[in-house]
């Protein structure tokens, strides 16, 4: 873990779902911090609360109780509109299902966060071109998502998440719908981004990819059962080298 400034500060956070008089405690008194430049993996079995926690961190959902601060600003009680603004300017999302908009081309998909931010057209174009180049998708800028492979779609999703220069990148099972080759490529991309200073918080089932991060949080039944400070340098090096080889093959295909 770096010694940088704290970006996310969650204290005693709970999430309870009410269904027909029944209460389901999805998260129980979670407390954690994420610093700028961190690469955090959240792991755990299905129903453990990983995605709920990621949704709350990403301001897609609200906690039932507890404190949640981003850069020391409390965001637990923001309105929907305020949450949308913070999502737009501070957070980038990568989803398991890519969640690209089918009727939009690659570049239009990537451009969307900038449109919502009110960036001028000329600046948008430059930024989109830049970020597509960064994920090796320039050639596919005018394709529709259904004309791309799963790996390519996820790279576009990464580009869309990056285009607004977010300080926090949230990835929910980013390799879940990809084969191992494409999954490795995406993980390599995230790793590079983290090296460039992007704070990443990722939910994954795949323990292999947890090694990319410098911290792992294990959730079980809505509670943090363990923290770990990440992989050993040797493990990380071997996995990353393997991924780099695969990523270069993908780049050639793309």
């Amino acid at each position: 873990m770096s010694n940088s400034k704290t970006l996310i500060n969650i204290n005693n956070l709970s999430k309870i779902y009410h269904t027909d008089g029944t209460q389901t405690h999805a998260l129980k008194a979670i407390s954690l911090t994420i610093s700028q430049g961190d690469y955090v993996t959240i792991q755990g079995p299905s129903g453990g609360g990983k995605s709920t926690l990621l949704s709350i961190i990403g301001l897609l959902d609200k906690a039932t109780s507890g404190e949640y601060k981003i850069s020391d600003v409390s965001v637990a009680k923001l309105s929907q509109s305020q949450m949308a603004k913070v999502r737009n300017k501070e957070i980038g999302f990568i989803f398991q299902d890519f969640n690209l908009i089918g009727d939009m081309t690659v570049s239009q998909n990537v451009e969307l966060p900038l449109i919502y931010r009110g960036v001028k057209k000329s600046a948008r174009k430059a930024k989109v071109d830049e970020v597509l180049a960064r994920v090796n998708m320039t050639e596919r800028a005018h394709h529709l998502p259904n004309q791309l492979s799963g790996g390519q779609q996820q790279r576009v999703a990464v580009a869309r998440a990056l285009v607004g220069n977010p300080t926090l990148l949230l990835a929910d099972e980013p390799t879940g719908n990809l084969d191992s080759v494409n999954g490795d490529s995406v993980m390599q991309l995230l790793s590079e981004l983290n090296e460039q200073g992007v704070t990443i918080c990722m939910v994954t089932h795949d323990s292999r990819y947890a090694h990319f991060s410098n911290r792992t949080i294990n959730l079980f039944d809505g509670e943090i059962v363990s923290h770990s400070s990440g992989v050993t340098p040797d493990d990380a090096k071997s996995v990353q080298e393997h991924v780099k080889i695969v990523a270069s093959q993908i780049a050639v295909e793309a």
Binding site: G58, R87, N99, G102, L112, L168
Partner: protein, 835 residues
Amino acid sequence: MSKTTVSSNINDVDKVQHNFIENVAIDISYAFSRFISQPMTTLIIVLTLALSIGATTAIFSVVNGLLFQATPFKDSDKLVILQQQDLSRQQNYGFSATEIIDFSAQSQTFEEMSEYHNMTFTMYGNGDPVRVRTGVVSSNFFNMLNLTPIHGRVFTESEDDIGAEPLVVLTYEFWQKEFNGKTDIIDQSVEFNNRSHKIIGVLPHFPQFPDVNDVYMAIPSCPWRSSENALSNRGMRMMSGFARIKENYSLADVNTDVANIAKQLGGTYPEAYAENANVSASALSLHDELVRSSRPYLYTLLATTLLLFLIAVANVTNLTLSQHAKRKREFAVRSSLGASKARLAQLLLTESILLSLFGGLIGLLFAFLGLGFLKDLASNFSSLASEISIDSTVMLFALFISTFSGIIAGIVPSFGKIDLVSSLKEGGKSSYSTDHGFLRNTLLVGQFALSLTLLIAAGLTIKSLNNLQSVDVGFSAKHVEISQVDLNWTVYNNAQQRWQISQQILQEVRKLPNVTSSALSMTYPNDTVGVNYNKVRQAVQLDDRDFNADDRLPETFIRPITDGYFDLLESNLLMGRDFTADDDDNGALVAIINKKLANQWWPNESAINHNISFDQGQTWLTIVGVVENIREGGAAVESSFQIYRPMAQASAAHIAILAKYEGSQASNFTATFTQDIKDIVARLDSRQPLSKFETLQKAADNSVALQRFLAQLLTMFSVIALVITISGVSGVMGYMVNLRTREIGIRMAIGADKAKVLLLILSYGIKLTFIGLVVGITGAYFSGNWLASQLFGINGFDAIIYGSALMSLLFISIAACFIPAWRASSIPPMVALKQ
């Protein structure tokens, strides 16, 4: 990211506002890609809106042209028509020349009063002689209506003086028809009857009232109006009065004013009024008079199209809800990327308004295409029909309703809350009940209810039309050809001359091959011109009782006819005999009365051989026959009291020649008859023009034109409403099946067979239909009662029509639900479970 950055982001003044136009452009561009990628949905929405907006706009253009739009006259709300009344006899009448002078001088509430009466002249000097419908008006008539001639000038005040040069101005239509629009006719002279008249101007097109004329003539140019009798006799009330209300005075003020003047004149000149007359006068808004008869029908039509529009909006909203439900993931993604709820609503609204505007544009095109048809129909009942157009008001209306439908269909889905987490994960799979299900069902129920209301209204209107057409009108219109002749009354200036030419015409007509019967008459059933001629205004003396001048005889007319008239019309002579050739000017004076008058005068005995007198016993007419009642004013109008006299004893200048053709070619005789009559009249008097040709059937059809107009349009709108409702039911049920596919799979897995699944879906649709129909019956009951008060011969609650409409909608609903239900029952359980 610093604390300041996050805080400023939270409280940021939305920069998006600064890029509003660009955002709209982006949304429009995206909307177009969506429309292209969803061609069927786009087509259904656009067509649904186009049909309803087109129908609503077209009818609005009629209502706007006839009711809302002020007449093209300047300050038309200040224009009134004046009339006098004898309140004790409930009779209306016009003004004499001296009364017009008195009213003009004494009124405090109107600026000026102009006079008008209508005559028929024969015009010579421009090719063949032409019968000319002529309005005789005072010089201020045109100024009052703010009519500026397009060529030449109109009359000046000095040209109202008796003895001034005879002048005419032409209407635009007559100028085009008879003078081919030539401008060099100004200052040329043509002959009207036996006098030369100078053409001094051409008027622009304008809606004419109370008559449609060919030319307008100055007062001194009219021999009757400039006669000593017309100038001095206060009882010669042949003129209508028009007036313009002064600023700061209302219609009510004018009514009070003119009633006082009339009362005062009644006291000053009692000899000019009937004995014990209770004289008064009143003013009617010109615009109200122009549209009075058609107003309820037009409001009915407008209400109907608005119902149709609401059905379409409900349908489109339902379709948009279904589309929105399929786009949950997209909206969740947009939201996760920072789109606010308002921004998402803007996208939905942009798409929806765009579709509505497309629909509106095509609807406007439909309205343009249907405009000629509507104007033709409307011209049968309103002189303002020519004012109907798709003008800026109508276009704004179309834009308004298009935008309205777009806003409703776009805003309703925006109210729904999207669960971002589940939508992003699973695309927002949900159950029908949680996914705007109640709203969707409510809209569908509303569609059923409105469709039922519309269907029943159409049914009642059609029934009313059928009732109207099956009324025993007392005559048969089959195969009767008619030609009208307005004799030049300067040439044929006495009864003997008029009867002589009339008799000659009849003799020649009776020689024509294939003519099985023929007769002459001053007027005929549904004759729009002559129907009010020869109204009896004085009390009639009967031979078996004392004369009472106060005896009221409402709506009684004297109809000069020749022998054979009743035979030709197949009207039953109930008692006595028909006229014969012996009932000529040398024979005893005789009359035939209708059953209604016979019952009025002699309810308990035969009217035959009774004598009646119109001149207080100086001359007596013997009643020789009683004929069945003939509805002359149309099937919806009760027969008036009729006294038929032999034309030989009561000649007329306005003659209708009626001839019946028989045989297999009977329907094709119009052309033959037209040519034959032209030849006959030309042989007898080459300077006598013919006025009009029509068939008795056409006249009868025209008399129910308004009702037919209403029935045709309501039927058309009902069909459109049904088509829209079918598409709505299919769409909603199809969507419901999609959402319930997994549930259906589970049901089948645990033992439900195909029939049970079919029944499950069908019963859902039928339940919604029933609720809609129950709600609809309430609406239909109220609209039916209103229609019953406006239409002929119907009951607001007609069990057969209600039953038929209910069964039709139920059947249509079952049929519309069946396809999605069958699809649902045909899904293999394993496939359904994987959904």
